[in-house]
Every structure is written in C-alpha cells, then in structure tokens.
C-alpha cells in the first residue's frame, strides 16, 4: 500500500508523505512552494482568488477545471496536475488571456486577477460553451465591474495555448496518463487518510472504520477544517473509487456514481431536463461544481443543498451499500431529520438513479437566493408533474429537503403552511419563504402545460 500521494506541478511530480486531511493546496503552493501569485481571499471557496487549474483523468480524457485551492485537500490531488498563475505565461511573453486582461483593463487592484486568469485558462482548455459570465461567476472582483474580464475571455476563448504553456500541458498529460490514482493510506500522528481505488476496498474500509469521515470534493467539509478548525482523525476519500465515478444511462434512468463531480452531471441530466439549466449553472460556481459531487451534496444531509430538491422532484433513488449488501431507497426517505440520514453504520451512498423524462412531463425549478450565482439558497423549489403524478419538492423550507405532501394532494398553494414551518435566518424570513413557495406553486399550477419547457428552451 502506498503511503504517499503524488501529483504534478511546475514541471515535475511531487511526492508527499504524511499528508493530513487539513493540508490544503493553497497553503502548499504559497508556503511550501513559495508560489505566491495565487492569493487567499476568503479561505472558504467563495471568492475564487485562490483558483488554480486542475487537470485530471476523467471519463477517459483529461478534464480541465478551475478549483478553489483554499479548500482543495492535497489528498485529492493524487495522479492529477495543477497549474497556477506562475505557469501560464510571464511578463516577457504573456498568455493570450493575460494579455487580453491587460489590454481590456481587466485588473485594478490585481489581487483577484490570478484567480480569474485560472478560471479563464481552464475555460479555454475545457472548451466550455457557456458564457464568460458563467465561467467567472465563482471569482469575485470588488474593483472592476467585470467588463474587461468578460471581454478578455470572450475574445480569447478559442485561442491556442502558447508554445511554452502547451509544453507544460503536454508534460503534465504524459505524467497523468501513467500515474496511479488512489489506493493509498496516509498516516500522520494525528490523522489517517484512506483512499481506496475500487468499490470493494471502499466497502471494506467503511465497514472497518465506521467512525471515519467520508470526504468527496470537500466543498463543504473543507470549511469545517479551514473555518471550524476541525482536525478529522480518520478520513475515507471517495475521490479515487472507480465505480463511484461511473455515469450511465438507459431508457429508464440515469445513474450517477456518488463521486461524480457536478461538472460531469450537467451535460447528461440537462439533455432530458433543459429546464434545469439555470439550476445547474447557479449551483455553486464552476470551481465548486468541479470539486463538489452529487453524492457528497446528498450524503452531507444539508437542508439547503441545491441538488436534492430537484432530484426528489424527479423521483430519484439512492443506492446504499454496506459491504456486499445493497439497498435502494427513494431520495426523500434518506433525509430523516436535521443532521440525521437513513444510513446504517458502515453504509455509504454508492449511486443516484434519476428517471428519464416522460412524455408530457412538466418541470419547474426555481432557486431563490440573495444573489443569482454562487449563493446559498433561501428557497429551492422543484416541481414535476407526469403520468406518475405530481411531485413538489422544496429545499430551505424545513430541516431537510422535503416534499410538500399536503399540497401534492390538495393542489392548493395556500396549504403550503401545513407542509412547512420554515425558520427565519440570515438568508430570509419564514414569512418570505412561505410566500415565495406559495407564489411559485401558484405559478406552476396556473402555467400552461408545456410552457415551462418552452420558457427554458428560450
């Protein structure tokens, strides 16, 4: 068993022993490598100042994504490569994105700039099709109004990589193609990290260490460590479990392994449910979707996760595994109470099954939050009606994501208060949550069949 991790950065591989769960990529870059072009703005994955480009093997090819280094555990980097602002170009020969940002006056104080460059370079490498605004929505700039940054990306999105950077990319790709991914254990005085490479090993480790914290993309658990200063003693990573990365579809359903990052979900799910595009693009940011997983979003049990309400509305089921035993439950049944899920000791989420679209199915998904992008939801409403019946799911309205069962029967939006007694918190008042839920239900019931799909298509 390997006791080290290895990843590629700055032209060669780095092998690290004794990695702890709390060891984040940003600290390693800034303090260990003295690569201080990448900045810390918030230490919680919200501002994007620490964005770097991640290159990893995904679905048989190299997947390029920007990630927030501040909450990216080093232990999740095995077999991958990263590029930081020191890599793309230099002042003698700027990368085309860098030159465009200069020419478009896209920097003022400059502190956020390296993070923006990372998101834009990753967008180029990943040949993203969405707008520049979506690509950089996970990066905050407080000085400019984003105009120069947007123009810089739009002007350069299809430009070839400069030779010097291409050579670095090639070297990284060559290394990645032969690198091992997962199948290691890192032990230090205070902590143990288990990183199984296949499902059997995962199941065995889970059984042997029911007290271990399971970490996937760490977009939430990362904050427990950087903000809560938690030091988990025992951790199992889902990141390298091959079976948990499987995505498949048949005529009945889509199946997503629990460790599939959200970035891989959109392209599949939106084929059937184009109404969910805004939901998908507003779920975290590009960085968060690159790290965060659907399984983690569910297993975490948050009452305000953006994934579960839509998935519940669509009738998704969970496959849970304990050793060799597998069971399937409706997603809504997984959430028992705040902080409590239907998960036995030694059990874990293996996959999420989402039914394919039915003819005539109506779907409406609405996220209500203070800001459009990358904001924690106040209310998430997902409504589906098909031959299988009416499903009205909400997040942010109760201690768990939940169906509005009373309204599902009565079809009366005014009954929403019988289904939910939401809380007032820093995101919204209980009155507002109820009012919005009622308004959206009314809209759904009053809407012409087919109108929702048409609106989404526009």
């Amino acid at each position: 068993m390997r006791t080290s991790i290895e990843f590629f950065y700055a032209g060669h591989s780095h092998k690290l022993e004794g990695v702890k769960p709390t060891d984040m990529l940003l600290s390693w870059l800034r303090d260990n490598q003295q690569a201080r072009g990448t900045k810390e703005g918030c230490n919680e994955g919200d501002c994007g100042a620490c964005s770097v480009v991640l290159a990893r093997q995904m679905g048989g090819k190299i997947d390029y994504q920007p990630v927030n280094a501040c909450i990216f555990p080093l232990a999740n980097l095995d077999g991958a490569a990263i590029f930081s602002v020191e890599d793309y170009g230099n002042r003698a020969e700027l990368h085309p994105i860098q030159k465009a940002v200069v020419d478009e006056h896209g920097s003022q104080c400059g502190f956020c700039t390296p993070g923006f460059i990372a998101s834009m370079v990753a967008g180029q490498l990943g040949q993203v099709e969405h707008s520049a605004e979506v690509q950089i929505a996970g990066n905050l700039c407080r000085c400019t109004g984003y105009g120069g940054l947007i123009r810089a990306f739009e002007g350069q999105r299809n430009t070839a990589q400069p030779a010097a950077f291409q050579a670095k990319l090639d070297a990284a790709n060559a290394w990645i193609s032969t690198a091992e991914r997962g199948g290691f254990e890192c032990h230090s005085e205070a902590s143990s990290i288990y990183a199984p490479a296949d499902l059997a090993a995962m199941a065995a480790l889970r059984l042997a260490h029911p007290d271990a914290l399971i970490i996937a993309g760490a977009t939430d658990v990362g904050l427990w460590m950087t903000k809560g200063l938690k030091q988990p003693a025992k951790v199992i990573l889902t990141t390298y479990v091959a079976e948990l990365h499987a995505v498949s579809q048949d005529t009945a359903e889509f199946t997503f392994g629990a460790a599939v990052p959200y970035s891989q979900v959109g392209g599949v799910l939106l084929q059937d449910y184009p109404e969910a595009r805004a939901w998908f693009e507003r779920l975290g940011s590009v960085q968060v979707r690159a790290s965060g997983t659907m399984g983690g979003n569910i297993a975490n049990g948050s009452p305000i996760g953006d994934g579960p309400p839509l998935l519940i509305a669509l009738g998704a089921r969970l496959r849970l595994r304990k050793s060799d035993a597998v069971r399937e439950i409706a997603l809504e049944d997984y959430f028992v109470a705040y902080g409590k899920q239907d998960l036995a000791e030694g059990e874990f989420v293996e996959a999420i099954m989402i039914p394919r679209r039915q003819p005539g199915q109506r779907l409406m998904v609405e996220k209500v939050s203070r800001r459009i992008d990358q904001d924690i939801t106040a209310v998430l409403a997902a409504f589906s009606e098909s031959d299988d019946g009416l499903r009205l799911a909400f997040g942010g309205m109760a201690a768990t994501p939940k169906l509005a069962t009373t309204v599902m029967t009565s079809r009366n939006p005014s009954d929403i208060g019988q289904d939910f007694q939401p809380l007032t918190d820093l995101r919204a008042s209980k009155e507002y949550r109820l009012r919005v839920a009622e308004n959206l239900l009314r809209q759904f019931f009053e809407q012409e069949p087919g109108a929702a799909a048409q609106e989404a298509a526009e």
Partner: protein, 772 residues
Amino acid sequence: MNQMSKPASKPQIMSPMGRAVEHDSASQHVTGQAIYCDDIREPAGCLHAAMGLGPAYPAKIRAMNLDAVRQAPGVVAVFTAADIPGENNAGSVVHDEPLLATDQTSYPQQPLFVVAAETRDQARRAARMATFEADELPAAVNFDQIVERDEHVMPTLEVVTGDAEAALSKSAHRLEGRIEIGGQEHMYLEGQIALALPSPDGLRVVSSTQHPTEVQEMLSHLLEISAAEITVEVRRMGGAFGGKESQAAHTAMMAALAAYHTGRPVKLRPDRDDDMVTTGKRHEFRVDYRLGYSDDGRVYAGTFDLAARCGHSADLSAAVCDRAVFHSDNAYFVPEHRITSHRYRSNTVSNTAYRGFGGPQGMVAIERAMDQIAASLGKDPLDVRYENLYGRHGDIAPYGMQVKERVLEPLMRQLEESSNYRQRRAEIETANQSGGRYRRGIALTPVKFGISFTISFLNQAGALLNIYKDGSILINHGGTEMGQGLYLKVAQVVAHQFGVPLDMVKISATRTDKVPNTSPTAASSGSDLNGMAALVACKTLKQRLTQYLQQKFDTDALPIFKDGRVSIGFHHMSFPELAHAAWFARIPLSATGHYATPGIGWDAKTGKGRPFFYFAHGAAVSEVEIDTLTGANRVVRADLLHDVGQSLNPAIDLGQIEGAYIQGMGWLTMEELVYSDKGQLLTHAPSTYKIPTATDRPDVLNIALFDNKNPEPTVNRSKAVGEPPFMLAISVHSALAHAISGLGGAGYWPDLNAPATAEEVLRCLDAARQGA
C-alpha cells in the same frame, strides 16, 4: 527568471497625459508577480499573530482565562491590554476605543488579546482556546433601540437655511417619508494585514493601509516611541474602499505590539471572518424626511433627519455624517431647509469610511422623495429632477456654498437622449400594464458630489521627486495605491512635465520616511492632491534645470521638454544627457513638492462655509427587471455618463466608473448585513454576504465620459473619480421602485428600503398590491 524579465508591452507614448494607458502594474497583476503584503517572504523567525475575540454579546468581563492559549502548540506569547506600553487606543479621531478591550466589550467579538505563534495555523487555533467569565450586557442594535437609548458618539450637526417649518406649512403639497438604508462590507479581496519588522533602530511596518501616517502615529502612541523611529510602508493594497483608512491601524498595532515584546518579525493577517467581524462598515442610516412642493413639482422647503448607526465608537463617524448632511440635497435646490444629523452609538462594530463616506446615504432619501413628488403629480420623475436642479431657481446649498458649475442639466439631457430614456419608459409602462410574472422599471438619477476632505486640514499632500544621473525619474508621494491607478496618474503628470516616455518614470512604495505627514488616500482626493504635489516638485526641478541650461548656453530662452529631448535655443540633448550634465554641474536633482487646496473651509458649529473645492457630476439610467413571484431582481441595462473634468487617463476613469456603479448596485440590492439581536454580525464571510458577480453585471452597460474641464485649477483640469460614480447606482434603486409602483395604481410609490433584496422587493410588491 520571470521576475527579471521585461514586461511584454510597455507603451512608448511620448506624452502620456490624458491617454488611456494601462495600469502600471497590469502585467504584474496578470502574472501573479504583483507583491502584496502577504506575498513578502517572511524573514527567518517571523511569528504569526491572531486576534482573540470576546463573547458573542457585549459583556462585562469578570475573568479571562488564557492558560490554554498560552500552552497551545507553537504559542510564543499572548498579549492583553496590560502589555501595551503606551496608550491602549484604537480611535483615530476620538480616543474612545481600546485596541484590546479590558473589563468590558462594547460589541460582540471585540478583540481582547493577541496570540503570537510560530505558524499562522497555530495562532488561529490557540486564539480560540480562551474562556471567559462574562455577564451579558444589554445590546442596542437596530434603529428603534439606538434612538431609544439615545447615546451619541459625536455631537449632533444641524444645518439650517430659512424657516423650513413655516415654508412647509405654506406649501401646496407636502410629503413625508422614512427610508432605512443598510450598511455595506468593503469586501476588499485582500483582507487587513500587517507585517511588523523590529530592529534596534526602530520599527518598520508593512501595512495594507490607505493612511500610512496615521498608522505611524497610532504605533507611536501605542509603543511610546517617536514617529521618527517608525517607518510605515505600503506598495499596494488589494482593494480598500475606505476600509483601510482608519482601521488598518488596528491590525498593524497588534502585529507591532507582538513584535515590540518578542523582538521578532510578526505578521498578522486575520482570517476573512475575523476581519469582517472586527472591522467597521458603511454606516446604516434611517432618514425621516419632509418636503413641501408646488403643483409643478418645485420644492420649496424640507426637513431631513439623518440618524446614523455608528457602532460602539466614534471612529470617522463625525466626518461621515457631515458628508451625509452635505449630500442630502444631492443636486437639488431646497430654499428653506433644515438638516439634522444624529450620530448614534450602537453595540456593533464601529462603522467607518466607505467609498462615498456618507454621501450615498444622504442622497438616497432625496432621490426617493423626487420620485414620490413625481408620482403624486403624475409626472415623469426626470422632469421633477430637472425642475429642482441647482441653477434653475437658486444655487446656494443649505450649507452656504454656491453651486457654480452648470454641468448637470446638459449632462442629463445628453444622457436622456443617448439612452432613449423617454421612449423606453413609455414602453415599459405599457408592457407592465399587460401583467405577467416579470416587470420592468427605469430611472434616470443625477449625482453631484463635493470634492475635498470636509476636515479641511487634510487637504494637503507632499511628494518627493528624484532625477537620477541616467535620466530616470523616481516619484514618491503620500498617496497609496489600492487599484485606482493613482501611481500611474501621478507618473503621467511627471512624464508629461519632463517630456519623457512614461517608462522613464518609476513609482515606488509609499513610505513615511520618504514623504512625511501625509493625509489618507481617501475622499477621491488622491490624484488632485498628490498629482499637484508632484507637479510642484516637477516645477522646482524644471526651474533648476532651466537656470542651469540658461547659464550654460547663455540665453534667456526657455527650454522645451518634449519627446524625451530637451531643446533650448539651437541646443538639443536627450533628457538623460541633461540629467547627467546637470549632476556634473552640481545641480541638486531631488526636490519635494507640497500642495494645499486653496480657498476651502467651513464652520463645523454652524455647518456653513465652503467645504468643497468643486463638485463632480454624473447621471445614470438604469433599467431593471423584477420577478413578481419572488422579488428577485436584476439590472438589464445601464447607461452612465460621468464628469471627470478633463481626464488624466480615460481607461482608468472608465474603470473607476464601472466598478463604482457595480459596487453601488450591490450596496442597494443584494448586499445585506445581518446582525443578531446581540449585535453579532451573522453575514461574516462571502458565503453569506453577497457582492455582485459577473452575472450581476447589466446585460448592456454603456459608459461615457462627459466632455468637461474642471473650472478650478486642478491637475490637467481633471476631476476626482473614486467615489462620485458610486452614487450612479441610486438609479437602480429608483428603477426598482418604479417597477413595483405600477402594481399600486396611480400616484403610488413604494417605500422601498435599501438594500432592495428579493425579500424587500416582494414586501413592497405585496404592499403595492394591497394598496392598489
């Protein structure tokens, strides 16, 4: 070898004055080579500090147990107020705020101690290990509570002109209203930070500060060492927006205290959450207003009561609230007026400077009132605004200053035309009548913003100019660079004076040992003051060089500095040749410059005088869309036209205008600070406090500079640009109210507060539906 390489493209523009030159650090920004305080390699033995925060409520502290903190791994020392050799004071104007609280905290999580440890991680962990025996004290947080308790951090200011009450009672129409205006977190991307470097010769502190001189002074009082033994340095900040004007000193003082005792370098970079919890924000205001007006919408009288929530101490609140008073008229003549400003103490963190400095809060209320007048009379609000502009019926502001320039009416007319305001407004009103889930609104609002520190003595600046033998020029001044392009603008001024390419003028870090006794880089004054100080220094050296050349060539002719060359009579030489020759002739090639804004001053007792050198102007048309089901809203189009005088650098100025508008839009829409009923900030990180992202930028954003020259003798006849365009975003708030108003029937105008979050908009939509 990146650091040694030459920049890719350096503009070779012979006279850079007025040109759209890129930011001097742009190529460093994009390559990650621009060094901020945290990027400096720590010297060997450098310690890292963290703040120890008090209970989550204001408290009487009976006992503080720091044993666990002291014993935590890596901890070298822990410091409390008892360890301060000099004065335990963090209040820059009034000494009413301890750096480290002792037996009482006056707001939740007020710092009580400082930990210094070998690593930052160790310091952060240790800082959380303190335990307290504490009794909770009553907290006054919201406006009802602070007005009821009625404690003031600074005296009330009342500015009176005429007899407002009598004039109100005679007016054909009267309206009264109340608006609550939320605060704003600066959310500079680079948080507060300082690196203190002690030596036997004194203390050097690298601080992310807008006000190095004040940091120096505060350190001097804290440690009881003279200012001459302290050097404060800042090359650049990663944003500031006012948040590093007075309160950057706190971080520097804590780091310096630890360095003073340990003799080791100490860096303090609070985590973002600690930064947000312990540093002040834009002041919240509640404005109660009354206006009397005629059938044609002309205002005859008004009373404005401005209640400000200042936090637990004075900080800069007096000046912030003064500026709110001076801008509560915005662009409008109110012949008989009474403006009252109360500065309330609250059990929250001490509010501080923030771009606009009270001006924005002052303006929001009267813009709402203009809309209300228009609604009540069935007029287009733009016509009511025109009717009341200074110059139409009078030009003396309530504080006695004459508003001379007649910029706003032509500016607004031009914008009205270019944005097609009238037609779009008509189309929107028609479309809104047909119902539907989404409604639109549009508004055109002006900005008139007074330029100068209202604390008159701050209106001075110094510069140090060195010409080296090789002809390269180094300029230093008291201004600090926070992204606004000040260094570049001043370099442009200097390059223009000597007729040399911009890349011959170097700019280096702002340091108190180079230019002493400086004012903060604030009040949009950076280039006005420092540009002029640099100009004075340039003229001194040009004078010396001229004398030298005239003697050498025995002529009375004046030399011409142009295209990197100097010509006098028939003699020509390159600028480097001149520099070398002048040095050889023992001409001193270093000079200082000093500038003090002429002719300003006012009486703080009566609030009368001339607080401002001039006014900057602008106007904006914003079009918004609201979701009537959720209250969600966004700006779909904005057209901005702004008066920067004769621009020193249009690219920089356009960037300031765009950024200010978006920041103002955030303040008035999505940025909501939420406090607990104990005064604890609950939105203490970007996860919960939301500033605009790229997707919040309007789909269409047209920005233009108004063709103007400053009538006052500023550098290049330019105007200040940092703050004024922030208030262009008031048009967003007004447009949101317009979108809502249609649901309320004729004459209806919503009492939309700020920020107009989705929840606030939905509240008003429901009220409008019920009121209709």
